[in-house]
Amino acid sequence: MSSETGFDHKLYGLFPLKRKRPDKEVRELERLWETPKGWKVLTAVNNNYVGYWYVITSFLFFLLAGLLALGMRLQLAAPMQDFMHPDTYNQFFTMHGTIMMFLFAVPAVEAIGILLLPQMLAARDLPFPRLSAYAFWAYLIGGLSFFASIFVGLAPDGGWFMYPPLTSSAFSPGIAADFWLLGIGFIEISAIAGAVEIIVGVLRTRAPNMTLDRMPMFAWAMLVFAVMIVIAFPAVILCTLLLEAERAFNWPFFDPTRGGDPLLWQHLFWFFGHPEVYIIFLPAAGLMSMMVATIARTELVGYRLNVLALVATGFISFGVWAHHMFATGMPRVSAGYFSAASMAVSLPAGIQVFCWIATLASGKIRWSAPALFVVGSITVFVMGGLTGVMLGMVPFDWQAHDTYFVVAHLHYVLIGGMVLPMFAAFYYWAPMVSRKPLSDRLGRWVFWLMFGGLHVTFLPMHLAGLMGMPRRVYTYLPGRGLDTLNLVSTIGAFVIALGVLLFLYDCARNFRFSARGPDAGNIYGGGTLEWLPTGLYSTRSIPVVHSREPLWDNPGLAREVEEGRHMLPNAATGTRETLITSPVNAEPQYIQLMPGPSIWPMASAIFTAGFFLALTVQAYPFAIFCGVVTLFATVRWLWETDGPLPVEQADVGAGIILPVAITGPRSHGWWALNVLMTVIGMIGFLAIFSYLYLYGIHPEVWIAPPPVGQTALIVAMNLAVLGLVQAGRKVLAGRAGKPAGNLPWVLVMAGAALAAYALHSDISGWLAAGLDPTATSMGAIVFMLMALQGQVVFLSLIMVVYLAFREARGLLTTPHSVTMDIVARFTGFTALQGVVFAIVPRLFPGG
């Protein structure tokens, strides 16, 4: 294999080292990675704690959403019941869908990722532990606040996809819809933060020599999952922003009388919403691939085919969004494209299923609770997939659209594709974090209750749907053949609930969380690295990997790792650290210093939640206060990072010397910023799509743009920003061995200020041209582009002030500084976005 970074692969031959390393190194690791005691445990940031809390919280939301489902099923158990008021029923189905999709499904898989990935990759932790902590606290606080709205009668009631005009101010007055829009927007920030962490973690913190071809399937799945989040979630952030702007400021994006179009919401929402299904399914598929191999006690059949299937699904799932819109009167050819893509996406899903079946068939299955859940989920998922192909056909969809047939289909897909694999994972990986495993006997009962219950619940719904029962109705008339079907569904729902209750009993009886070991261990005989003995610092030393199932191929690996005979057996820099490796071949590149426990990520999350809540209830002064405190807390959390280094280089074992913390394209910070800029860029790209879409629908409301000369000036100013930030970096690079001085940050600050002035000119130009954001959809979307640009300009300004403060405190390192690297590149991105936003609206003139 050729080297990716110049690292000599022969050096891997030095490991395992001949001699055991001294035990005092373990004690040093324990000291450095110790978690504060008492209430201060809440300041913990390492994945053992944050991942565990995350899993528990997501499961709590699963239970809460399940309770809402039981309420709905009671209401529908017999015709014309008055168990709950129709308005309450509307709130229940809206909250059930929203919580399951936004507060359970995505966070649950992210949570499992945060808990398992560092151990699976043999990293000390994911690369940004404080970001993980922030994501968790934002999710917990935002989620609970959102759920609490149901107790005060403020829960949204427009369905989990909140279509306008039903959710516009005219038809949904009050703040319930705002709760949904701002709450979900906020929670998505948490999901994106998690995605950044996962992408960089999977690509840059793998154990040495764990090439892409040896990566655990779950890591592959999480990589595709996180990339999909980065592409898809900006769509929901943008559409919630547009609808909130329409509700709060009367900007008519979705009002056809002023040039808007309600279907724009549907396009944006489903551009997120359908990939979301695969976002939920793929990580579960990754878990399944790993469990299937262990259950069948053989290697996964078609590892590379599985990877291909994950990547193919990731791509094709972005071409299916409008199959949710077949009934809106789309042009026939367009409907055909989406129908074709909807069927094509079943090809890669089929590849995965056949690989699992082939693995089970070629091995010797050891039946256990996880094995039952795995086989059950394959069955249920295939059944859901088949009705999905039926719904992908336009004429069938016209008949079944918005009926209980769709409800049955989506529950089969989501329960088979995510819920059952997750329960399998609970049973399979619980021994990794608990002193006792969960009971296999109870687990089998849980499985049969859930598996039986879901068929009793959802199979009759296919029939009810085909008989014409629409979804989202709080009752139905007797004598239409629906009574028995609904009663059976209700009974089934309670059988599922019984299974979940039994699972809770099993957890209460057997699960005993053990973050620092000892745990119940590898009782199912898995072959991947998460089954190595670990402490809070993950594995004692980081093993050199030679195969996909290292524990099967080298039964002595656990002992070698425990004796410190692999890489980084100690705290080489005297602080928390992990090894950063190259993205493809996982060649060791440098040591990253890791931040320790901190209250600031939690404080930042609390006040971010306060900011969004205050906006919802229109308490603007309090929102500003929360925004300022959030900024302060975030700056404090970052302040302790990127300081002067304790050592420039360190020995990671066998005399291999690596640098400590680097900047530029080889650094993990560079990758994280790229991911963040992709997210912001996607929001911008989709805003441009919205502009073109509205232009295509209502060109009659378009006016002539500002003069060309003014546009050229805006573009020139933004290009000058690029020059200034580049100059700032060059000056800093020339200060090797000397203090940074003022010039570098002054140049970058001048750039950010110029970007702000360019934006001001842009806004002034459109106002002078007579554009009013409340008058037409053109005004609304152009000013939304300006608002988005305003956000990045504001962030750039904050960042340069931070840069200046760091220089004043002597914390700006030379010749390279991670802070300078990030601030300069982000300001450059701001300028480039400014150029695009200035040019595109002027290319499609009206009037």
Partner: protein
């Protein structure tokens, strides 16, 4: 191990195959969105399909006769999805 995913040529062609599919989808759907009902839309979709298939064929040649079967499968899935997706333009 000609099949290894960490070979640059392998994963690049694999990702490119699906990018070609995505580009074809965007061109075909974008044309229909901008000019609904216009006969030119069908020709655009067909032309884009031919161009996409030519690119995929180029990828197939680059993989070579002893190349990775998985990469070939990626090219085949992309080609099949493109062919399937062109049908609405021809008979829709």
């Amino acid at each position: 191990m000609r099949d290894e995913l960490n070979l640059h040529s392998n994963w690049k062609i694999m990702v490119l195959a699906f990018l070609v599919w995505a580009a074809h989808f965007m061109i075909a759907y974008g044309a229909e969105l901008i000019m609904p009902g216009n006969p030119a839309v069908r020709w655009i979709a067909l032309g884009a399909a031919l161009a996409a298939c030519a690119l995929l064929a180029q990828g197939w040649r680059r993989v070579g006769s002893d190349g990775s079967p998985v990469v070939r499968l990626a090219l085949a899935i992309a080609a099949l999805a493109i062919a399937f997706q062109t049908l609405p333009a021809l008979i829709g």
